[in-house]
Amino acid sequence: MIPLTVRSHYSLMWGTCAPRQICVAARRQGYRRLALTDTDNLYGLWPFLRSCEEQGLQPIIGAEVTETRSPQRVVCLVENEIGYRNLCRLITRRHQDGAFGLDIALPDHAQGLIVLTQSPALLADLHTAGVSVVGALPRRPGRGAVKLRQIARYRDVPVVATPGSFFLEPADMMIHRILRAIDLNTSLSRLPRSELAPAEAWLASAADYHQRFAAWPDAVQATHVLAERLAFAGPNFGLVLPPWGGSSERSAEEQLRIMAYQGARRRYGRDLSESVVERLEYELRIIAQMGFASYFLVVRDIVSRSPRICGRGSGAASLVAYCLAITNVCPIKHNLYFTRFLNPGRTDPPDIDVDFAWDERDDVLNAVLKHYEGHAAMVCNHVAFQPRMAIREVAKVFGLSDREIGQVSKRLPWFWRATFAADDRLLEHLRALPELKQLDFPEPWPAIITIAQRLIGIPRYLSVHSGGVVITPERLENYVPIEQAPKGVPIIQWEKDATEDAGLVKIDLLGNRSLGVIRDAIANIKMNGQDFDEQRWEPEDDPATQVNVARGHTMGCFYIESPATRLLQQKAGVGDFAHLVIHSSIIRPAANEFIREYVRRLRGGRWEPIHPRLADVLDETYGIMVYQEDVSKAAEAVAGFSPVEADGLRKIMSKKDKARRLKDYKERFVAGARKRGVEDTQIDAIWDMMMSFEGYSFCKPHSASYARVSFQAAYLKTHYPAEFMAAVISNQGGFYHAFAYVSEARRLGIKILPPHVNHSDIRWKGHDRTLRVGWLSVKHLSAGVQQRIVQQRRVGAYPSLIDFLKRVQPDENEVRALIHAGAFDALPPQNSRAALLWQLVYWQKTRVHYSAAPTLFHQTPDLEAPQFPPQNKTERLRQEFAVLGFLCDRHPMVFYADRLKALGTVKACDLGRFVGQHIRAAGVLITGKVVHTKHGDPMEFLTFEDETGLIETTFFPKAYRRFCAMLDRSRPFILYGRVDEDFGALTLTVDRVERVPKMQQTQSCLSEENPNQRWKAVSSNPADSRISRQRYL
């Protein structure tokens, strides 16, 4: 018996097991061969092939193909290379044709495939059409099967036993049912039977199957005969590089050489120095040798579609890439080594990532997909259940409410997956989490968590990879089935690791907000009539910019604006390019202690390399591993790894399921190092430092590319603060909210002008130390209205609100938002928002009268506007805050000035005078980040802000546990704690937090909440009622 219809969890939301588990189980049950036939896809092809190899099984490749509009289905098994291509085309067609029918589609793609069907009618049709078809007997002999056998015998077609499987053990039925319930959005007791796999659809042993088919032993025997014909063991494409379709008769190599030299002259002037020529020649030789010339040309084609890009990844080490304008950092000037990017010893594909401005990326991508239509598609992600999602979804099936679920799932720390996912004691771990201490996990939580544990890692749906594009010489569907993602782009059925396994080379085209910021800021500068020459722009050499970078005044600047980086900048006190490259790379989740050590050494602290062998490798970075390639360099130097081996180690670090393979590497590392006389303590220290690269890390060329963009941003911030901040806020999505950026602008001495119906644009505008609020910051304002406001203004300025209403036709809530934001304050009646609102409602009322059919009594009341009381100032600001999310002319903290003065709080700008002392300060929460101590206790770094500056605070585990639930952005807090100084960077170590007491009479302008009313003022005069009573009694 050979199982010919096995489904893995890649039959999304039906199957429950990974191909690896299936292979292990099959091996255990004594199978030699096994077919993986997932429904309408080859998602699991590469994991399956890898697992078969591990388990010593001989794979059979296939897929189950269904019809779109009927339950009809067949299983296609691949006989040979042609069959594989046909299967890919067939599945592609299944996904792209809304009326896909097997009887029509199959005969076109039947060559090289064996088709298994349970339907007697389809069997007859396909047989007539010349398809090599086989009758498939389902789970047990039955009445339907008899008919199939009859027809098969009549047509002399073999019949095989195909008891399909969706899971491995009978108990897995529960997981299957949960998956179905999640998929159908229903509860367990309401799942219709037709939506479930049969209870016995588990992978049984051969003996079991023999027993089930005891009536028809020939059908079982026939599986072996059939399997004989299925010799295909997986496709072998080699390395598939994008084709360069240049029109000239020159070869790609010649073309690359010409273009590289042209580019070099553009970059370095007409006379190229010897070092440049030498390096170019060397690189060109290697590229030609490895056959990557076309790849470079294709990437160049793509980047030439946009004026502003940032090429990054290890490719930034290539001078050729720099000359082709793929990257922007000179590798010679900044010591970036090409061999790390390409060398003849490596077999894996080159890796160049390119960033485009975030709002231009999609256009570039679409242009590429269109240009290479049929040959290009994006890589997909197999989005699998993460612990949080698994718990949430299972709990939903059990009928728990969002609130109940949120109490558990929202408190799970983000890093949680990495730590516990592998292990099967989820509930115990959950109970141990300090964030979940108050919960006692009543029924049905234990069941939910036990099941959720089983779901972790099961893929749920496909999404589009953030930027990976695959371009192939032949039509893409000859390599891999293609689907259409919901947003309309074609995607291949493999995620990035499988794509790499298959040998398809991907190019990453990503969106980057900061490129948009730089673009907009420069456009704004030019619009203001100033000159800005981008060609000769060398921001990293500008002293004023370097000073700002060294002080950490980089809020809004790409990649160096987070509190952690700004504090590092302050501590380091250096602002040159070389150090910024180090800093961009050293800020990693697991590298805290190395950062501290780095600062100490940078500030002149003594240090020795851990081992002399490391001296050369890490001298540039003060003996600390900073870049990704330091891992492989160290492995080579200390343990004598070969370059390929060392590179393998580096790669493993960024993978998800690394534990197993990492252990292997460690053994080899320790053995290698011992042999070279390194002491065990040193080995451990080096290995620990290597492990700090877990998760994500950068290589040096990548960091340098980023640092270049950071410097551009910092330069603009230094010299054109208004234009720069306008661009930062307009491009949104920075590290902070608009509120924080507005405060930062105010601190830079910029005046914020409120939105103005005759002056504001959609985006913010900077001009000469003023910032004009743009429409995009007004809540409730639709994109259409934003555009109409600007369009209509080209016809002429708006003289009045009524004129505006007539021309722009906004919705009511949009006009209200505009009025409250102050956009009409300059129009008549000046400065009375109530009167403006009256104009609005009156206009609406009368407009309704006129626009309807003429009425019999054609009268509209000609009403005088009532005299409204003057607006309370706090109320006015509260409304402004509600609409904009910030205040234009002041910091909201000034409302609390009186209260805070009474409390004697210290302002942010004065913290420096209180180093080492316990103080109180007050501020609004801006941003925060939870990290974990060595013992696994959570703690938090939070940034607060008052009207004078930022307060960086540390909440150690004790304070964090006590106050984490209380902090939010809706109001200011009083912080009690000690001011600490570390190499010039000030932080407040908080031990207690309190809310700032509410102001009497007026509410906080930050909070929109209107407390339930209970009014006391009049009632507090009991005399009134007593008098009235006496009168009556």
């Binding site: 409410s401 109530a834 009256w838 009403l863 009049v1018 009632s1019 009556y1032």
Partner: protein, 394 residues
């Protein structure tokens, strides 16, 4: 017609007041009433002290306790409040046939129009009722006298938590003018928001506006607002007896569930209860309603006509199941089911046309009679239909 006079009695923080009567030790301590089940507790009612500390109705209990650390938390006892309310009603009953009880929240409107000859001026009546309540239940209700319910209600709000207030006829507008608009009952959040937009915070400021101006600002709501800010309210005092009888049966799941079988089992049991109740009254129902409360507090209500009118468990269950199909659309667990029936009528006397259906009906009638007899003698749980076995005990 002479001026109406309406007395409004309002026991402040009614639930707390009741609990304090039950347990005098609570008198000097802040009290919060909230269901104890830890996950979902929201404040149901609180004492004045707790209110002053910032606790509000419907606030999550956890937050409420942070605001008011020393508070005693008690679970709500709707039965106690119901009984206390009945007692209040009883004490007011001698003075007027027109008494309106809105809910079990300590509010009572007594229409004393034209009773002056019998009982004296309305404030005297109010004074006497208050005295009686104090003597009998130990509450100190706020009372007010005014010409309509709206003004009377505002008057008690003004003096809350203790006191009394009399608004003379013709003085309504004057009384309301200095008060904040959010004290006026019937003004919804949207209205208040809009009033705030126009900087109108005091009732008097709104009363200056003409009906036409209000119409521009508030559209359909303008008439109500126009009258309310002037203290005009013509709505009568409804007595309890004017309402249609409704039979109810409730079940709260010990463990919330979304399992079809258990929900149907409970539904059958509710149908049995309603059926028994109907048969005892010798009535049948023509309409069934079902209230489904989910774990997260959302509520769905659906109803359906029952034709022909029935009092049979089976007929009721079949109808109830249909209603359940419409009402139960989410997969969130159900916490509470309430089956209701109204449009009560006498059972149809029409016999079935065909003999066998008629005999089946008679057999069924017989079964119901037998069931009722057993249950009457030995208790409701003495005999049970198989399908309800899986349901948790009531």
């Amino acid at each position: 017609m002479s001026e109406r006079s309406i007395i409004h009695l309002n026991v402040a923080d009614f639930a707390v007041a009741v609990e304090r009567v039950v347990d005098v030790r609570l008198r000097r301590r802040p009290v919060i009433i909230a269901p104890e089940a830890a996950v979902r507790a929201a404040v149901y009612d609180m004492s004045e002290e707790a209110y002053q500390s910032g606790v509000r109705k419907n606030m999550p209990l956890g937050r409420a306790l942070r605001y008011c650390r020393g508070a005693v938390v008690l679970p709500p006892h709707p039965d106690r409040y119901e009984r206390a309310m009945a007692r209040l009603l009883k004490l007011a009953c001698p003075y007027s046939p027109l008494i309106e009880v809105t809910d079990y929240n300590g509010h009572l409107f007594v229409d004393t129009t034209g009773t002056g000859r019998l009982f004296g001026p309305p404030p005297d009546v109010a004074w006497r009722i208050r005295k009686a309540i104090r003597a009998d239940l130990g509450f100190d209700p706020i009372w007010s006298v005014a010409t309509n319910k709206l003004v009377a209600k505002v008057a008690t709000r003004v003096v809350k938590p203790t006191g009394e207030y009399i608004v003379d006829a013709g003085e309504e507008a004057m009384f309301l003018a200095p008060l904040p608009v959010d004290l006026i009952p019937g003004l919804e959040l949207d209205d208040l928001k809009r009033l705030r937009d126009f900087n109108l915070t005091r009732t008097g400021e709104v009363a200056i506006l003409s009906l036409l101006q209000l119409d521009v600002m508030f559209g359909k709501r303008s008439q109500y607002i126009y009258e309310a800010v002037r203290g005009i309210d013509l709505s009568p005092v409804f007595t309890a007896s004017q309402k249609q009888p409704v039979l109810r049966a409730d079940h709260t799941f010990g463990n919330d569930t979304n399992d079809v079988a258990s929900v149907c089992a409970v539904l059958y049991r509710l149908a049995e209860q309603i059926g028994a109740d109907l048969r005892r009254r010798r009535l049948a129902t023509r309409r069934l309603g079902l209230v489904v409360d989910y774990s997260d507090g959302k509520r769905t209500i659906r109803q359906a006509r029952v034709y022909p009118a029935t009092a049979h468990d089976n007929g009721l269950f079949a109808a109830a199941q249909k209603v359940l199909m419409h009402a139960w659309t989410r997969r969130i667990r159900i916490r509470h089911l309430r089956l209701m029936c109204d449009r009560l009528t006498f059972p149809p006397a029409q016999q079935e046309l065909f003999a066998d259906t008629e005999s089946r009906r008679q057999r069924h009638d017989g079964l119901m009679v037998a069931l009722d007899a057993i249950r009457h003698r030995f208790g409701f749980g003495a005999i049970q239909v198989g399908r309800t076995l899986s349901a948790s005990p009531i």
